[in-house]
Amino acid sequence: MIKQVTRASQTQHFDVLVAGAGPAGMAAAYAAAQSRARVGVVDDNSGPGGQIWRGLPVAGETPVHALPKQAAEWNARFSNAKIAMIFGAKVFAHPEPGILAAETWQGSVVLDFRKLVLATGARERFLPFPGWTLPGVMGAGGLQALVKSGMPIRGARVVIAGTGPLLLAVADYMRHAGARILLIAEQAPANRVRRFATKLLRHPAKAWQAAKLRASLAGVPYRMGTWPIAAGGTDKLEWVEVTEGKKTQRIACDYLACGFHLVPNTELAALLGCQMDAGCVHVDDLQETSVEGVYCAGEPTGIGGLEKALVEGEIAGYAAAGDTARARQHFTARAVARGFASALEETFALRAELRSLAAPETLVCRCEDVPLKSLERHKSWRDAKLQTRCGMGPCQGRVCGPAVEFLFGWSPESVRPPIFPARLESFIAAARIARDPAAARQ
């Protein structure tokens, strides 16, 4: 049952609220809905699926592209469960305990919860290099997302670069959409990637996927130990230069789909005061964070891919709804999924050369146009922010933050509301809604 929220200042009450409708969120909501809990899901996107399953058909619609079996199964489970779905709503504040404020295109909504599952997923890591701000340079997942959202790609020349299994998945999708993939450049060295591929044999589903991918991409050059060093063109992308450390090659192309693996979206968790471990949300066996009643599942607890997201989502959903017995039944599957996660991290670690790609004039902060040379003299993220405005723009450091962390070792600061830019009227609307309408309010 889908409810598009357009009226301002509505409050919705839930026993279990799930923030994020990607695989982890879908699994958590489904699991929680098996009990008699009132379950809701809120997501900024227009439908479920998150990034990896973007564009899942809503009940009644026929899918635009063929869905992986697992996605179709989960979509069916999710759609048939008793879950209130609030799409097109971005959570921006936590005005008081048990309340999240979210903004929609036209209005805002206030979400009252007893238990909360954070399934906020991950975003791509972007690293600066000369020309990376040209129109036509996108994330790897970014290009895929745009194509899935209706951008035409048939016949376009695409170079895919960066790191991570996402590159292959994107290449596969692009091929099916009719793009001409000129090159896939994976920065991780060949020996590490090959070791990773053999590890996949331990995960049958993944081995099968990998083989399928290899077959589908036969004929597309896949070069490891290769990374982009520059992009160029007049007002838009026209070419990309890549290197393997010795020789440089210039490739004429229409799009560069470039992302350096993923960083977890932990802003909402940080806003709620959840404890972090090395940039990820700390959770216990039942996926509960350091904040009572707040659970976390999927990429924010550690970048680990689809299986980890699904199983952690289920555990969190059962746990949040009070069914710890069912939650525990998934512990073994989670251990297996997490094994894959650590292999991922090890294989696709960023090489040192990537720290030297940016030239002094290369912009690091795209929102505020702050070049590398302005940042180098500062000793901390906060100092750089105050003096140069880096990170003070609308993306709130989502793009430049992971970059400066890699370039300078600067850690992100504490998070303040709003965690997404939101209209001032939405702040006011959120405050007017009392958690308990009968309670006296000034």
Partner: protein
């Protein structure tokens, strides 16, 4: 066959299948520049998922809309930076 949605991009009419985001519609129409950066350089969508804010355009007069997160609606007027 999906329904077609008619909208305007920089004053020019375009029709896209329902479910298309404004960002995808902008790119479909051949427009490469979504916005101008602080120092005037052209910028376009980067992350495709609402976190980079590079795809901001004015939609129905409302500035700074993340076009990759807005689904096209009939009659929408989209303006990119000149």
């Amino acid at each position: 066959m999906r329904q077609m949605i008619a909208l305007q991009i920089n004053g020019a009419p375009i029709a896209v299948p329902s479910g298309t985001t404004v960002a995808a519609a902008v790119l479909s129409s051949g427009v490469k520049r979504f916005r101008r950066a602080v120092h005037g350089e052209p910028r376009a969508a980067l992350c495709g998922m609402g976190t980079c804010f590079e795809c901001r355009v004015a939609i129905d007069g409302k500035a700074h809309a993340r076009s990759c997160q807005v689904v096209c609606a009939e009659g929408m007027e989209v303006r990119c930076d000149d």
